[in-house]
């Protein structure tokens, strides 16, 4: 896992350097890296140079990579090995440090991510994953066992439509329909009302729940459509297997056949999907958080991208990468639990 992660970090940093724009220019209000130097001339040049030096942005690519990866701090206050004064020798992901924001030296990125995860991204992700599986599995099982009937065809069509709708469009449409512009039924921004501090526990809870409805709906529908299709396909494949006929020949009822003999075999493909859902959920759904103005990790990544804050981008992207790896690991473990033919030694 660690070598894979090192590779991931290398690729992200490489892409960042290849992309136009640069944090120093951004800070000076010069935007997308046009290189044009205005009125104050030399003064600004000096400021930029100092900013680059302070954040080790003037070092070569490999040293910068090492700075992000750790365990050394390569900034001027870092390890002597890299010409620092040794006040603060360690840093980078290997020493579990994401550093501080480029433009706000007092704001630690690790703490900020944790705060955003706890308050926004994790609750949304857990509810969405739970809802996705809770709804998708029964829908898939139900339509598989009624393969070819009208109700199966209607469900299939409905799920295909859902699956085809792009997230950003769905989010905007829901805002238009349910927000002040339309039915005025639900709040469309943030997770809490502005006066939520003054509310009682129950009212606060209700307020949050109301704010969550739209984001959760948008986060859930796509996965729901995809997952229930997978479940249906898996189930249909399994109910034509010989061992299902054996189970019938034993005299088992259709419930026992579907929920004992067929289910365990057909969830195997569905488990794999968990690996791809987890990173999206934890890494934050960038589009959804931005559209609904939710202070989560996805929105943080967006902020980093807009400001060319390499540190924020590196931290949030690495988190997503790690979550992908964790997701794959979890699916592998789940595989072995469900299917006795798979063992890891």
């Amino acid at each position: 896992m660690v070598p894979t992660l090192m590779g991931i970090i290398l690729i992200i940093l490489g892409l960042l350097h290849a992309a136009p724009g640069d944090p120093a220019m951004q800070m000076m209000g010069l935007g997308g890296g046009t290189g044009e130097v205005s009125q104050e001339g030399v003064d600004i040049e000096a400021k930029i140079a100092k900013f680059k030096r302070d954040n080790a942005l003037d070092r070569n690519f490999l040293v910068q990579y090492l700075g992000h990866l750790g365990p050394f701090n390569v900034k001027p206050d870092g390890h002597e090995l890299f010409g620092g004064d040794g006040r603060n020798p360690w840093g980078g992901f290997l020493s579990f440090s994401f550093g501080s924001e480029l433009f706000n030296r007092n704001k630690m990125i690790g703490a900020e991510i944790w705060k955003r995860l706890k308050s926004t991204t994790l609750p949304l992700a857990i509810i969405s994953i739970f809802l996705t599986y809770l709804l998708a599995l029964p829908i898939g099982i139900y339509s598989a066992n009624r393969q070819g009937t009208t109700i199966d065809k209607v469900t299939t069509l409905g799920l295909f439509i859902l699956y085809s709708i792009p997230v950003f469009w769905a989010a905007l449409m829901l805002k238009l329909i349910f927000g002040k512009t339309g039915l005025s039924l639900l709040p469309v921004m943030n997770l809490h009302s502005q006066d939520s501090d003054q509310l009682g526990t129950m009212a606060y809870f209700l307020d949050t729940a109301k704010h969550m409805i739209l984001p959760v709906a948008v986060m859930t529908y796509g996965g729901l459509a995809y997952l229930s299709r997978q479940m249906r396909t898996g189930m249909i494949e399994v109910i034509h297997q010989d061992y299902i006929r054996t189970a019938k020949a034993k005299g088992l009822g259709s419930k026992a056949i579907v929920f004992k003999h067929a289910l365990r075999n057909s969830v195997i493909p569905v488990i794999t999907i968990f690996a791809s859902i987890l990173p999206i959920m934890i890494g934050g759904s960038l589009i959804i958080e931005v559209v609904f103005d939710l202070p989560g990790t996805g929105e943080y990544m967006f902020k980093g991208l807009m400001e060319r804050d390499y540190n924020i981008i590196m931290a949030t992207m690495t988190l997503s990468g790690t979550m992908t790896l964790v997701g794959i690991l979890l699916s592998d473990i789940a595989y072995a639990l469900v299917d006795p033919r798979i063992t890891y030694s």
């Binding site: 061992y243 054996t246 005299g251 365990r264 299917d339």
Partner: protein, 345 residues
């Protein structure tokens, strides 16, 4: 009282040897297909006597498996449907009883083993679990008793160290072992009829003999009847008391194993025996039955074998021969217009 000798609930009457246990009367199981209706089983008659083995022989696609599946209501419907006939088990028409009653009979009074032991067992449950399921369902045994019973059953079918094997998964067993497990599962409730659908086809020759021997031995010990479906005349000779030869959805000849093997009368049966390798001297090409089995969508008029029969006449095309008593052997019936000429084949 040991759980093994628990009463059968429904019909406690144990048949005396030689009485009719199962009678199939004019059974017609058809399938709807793109080309019309396939008459896979079209007017089949036979009966299984208590304590005996009836062998059903025929080429692939002659409808022998479908008759067996029809008995337990395991023919997938749709596309299959019942177009007439009766299946009387202890006087009860299995085609008319409801699904609940059928489930009580399956695995308890009549059980079934299949051709492919590799796929007929559920890969994600232990063999013990799959055996226990049957007795817990039909005899209301608790888990502990069922587990003990599963071990006894595995011992009965000759699986070494059953205490250990009972907790293993199907993929940990060889093909022969798995077929033994299938037999143990089918025998778990001491059924009065065991339907064995090509039980040895997928096994090595040496294992085949062992499995057949095991079935015969269990049959003698338990006094049950066996309906043995096979395309292998050798298997029939070794185990059956009576033989029904099927061709194109119909029984064309029925008699005791001695009669059929000693003096086959139907041109098709005679053709089958002529195409056996061990009857031909070395160096001589095996004789074959000319032509191919007609499609179940378009059977020829009159006698269905006439397109391949050396004796076919105009009469064969006009009038379909019915099973008539023939010769001096009791219970020997043949469906052919040209029996006198057939004797000379």
């Amino acid at each position: 009282m040991s759980t093994e000798t628990q009463s059968k609930g429904s019909s406690g009457a144990e048949e005396k040897s030689g009485e009719v246990l199962l009678q199939v009367k004019d059974l017609r199981t058809h399938f709807r297909g793109d080309e019309g209706i396939a008459k896979a089983v079209d007017g089949v008659n036979y009966s299984v006597l208590a304590g005996e083995t009836l062998g059903i022989v025929g080429e692939s696609g002659c409808g022998k498996s479908v008759t067996a599946l029809s008995i337990l209501g395991l023919v997938p419907m749709p596309p299959g449907f019942n177009a007439g006939g009766e299946i009387l088990f202890r006087g009860e028409n299995l085609l008319e009883v409801d699904e609940r009653r059928l489930r009580e009979i399956r695995g308890n009074d009549i059980s079934m083993i299949f051709q492919e032991p590799m796929t007929a067992l559920n890969p994600v449950f232990t063999v013990g679990n799959q055996i226990m399921e049957t007795v817990m369902l039909h005899q209301g045994m608790d888990k502990m008793a069922a587990h003990q019973h599963a071990i006894r059953m595995l011992e009965k079918v000759g699986i070494p160290s059953p205490e250990q094997r009972v907790d293993e998964y199907p993929h940990q067993l060889s093909g022969g072992m798995r077929q033994r497990v299938m037999i143990a599962m089918a025998m778990a409730c001491s059924p009065s009829l065991l339907i064995a659908d090509e039980p040895t086809t997928a096994l090595d020759v040496t294992i085949q003999a062992q499995v057949l021997e095991l079935i015969s031995e269990l049959q003698k010990r338990e006094g049950m009847s066996v309906l043995l479906i096979t395309h292998d005349l050798g298997v029939v000779a070794q185990t059956a008391d009576h033989v029904a030869v099927m061709y194109a959805g119909k029984v064309v000849e029925y008699g005791s194993v001695e009669t059929i093997f000693g003096k086959p009368c139907h041109p098709y049966t005679i053709g089958l025996f002529h195409s056996l390798p061990d009857l031909a001297p070395p160096g001589v090409r095996l004789s074959t039955i000319e032509g191919i089995v007609p499609s179940a969508f378009r059977f020829p008029s009159g006698c269905r074998f006439r397109t391949r029969c050396p004796l076919a006449s105009d009469r064969c095309a006009e009038i379909e021969p019915t099973l008539e008593r023939f010769g001096d052997q009791a219970g020997h019936t043949v469906a052919c217009h040209h029996l006198e000429e057939a004797e000379k084949l």
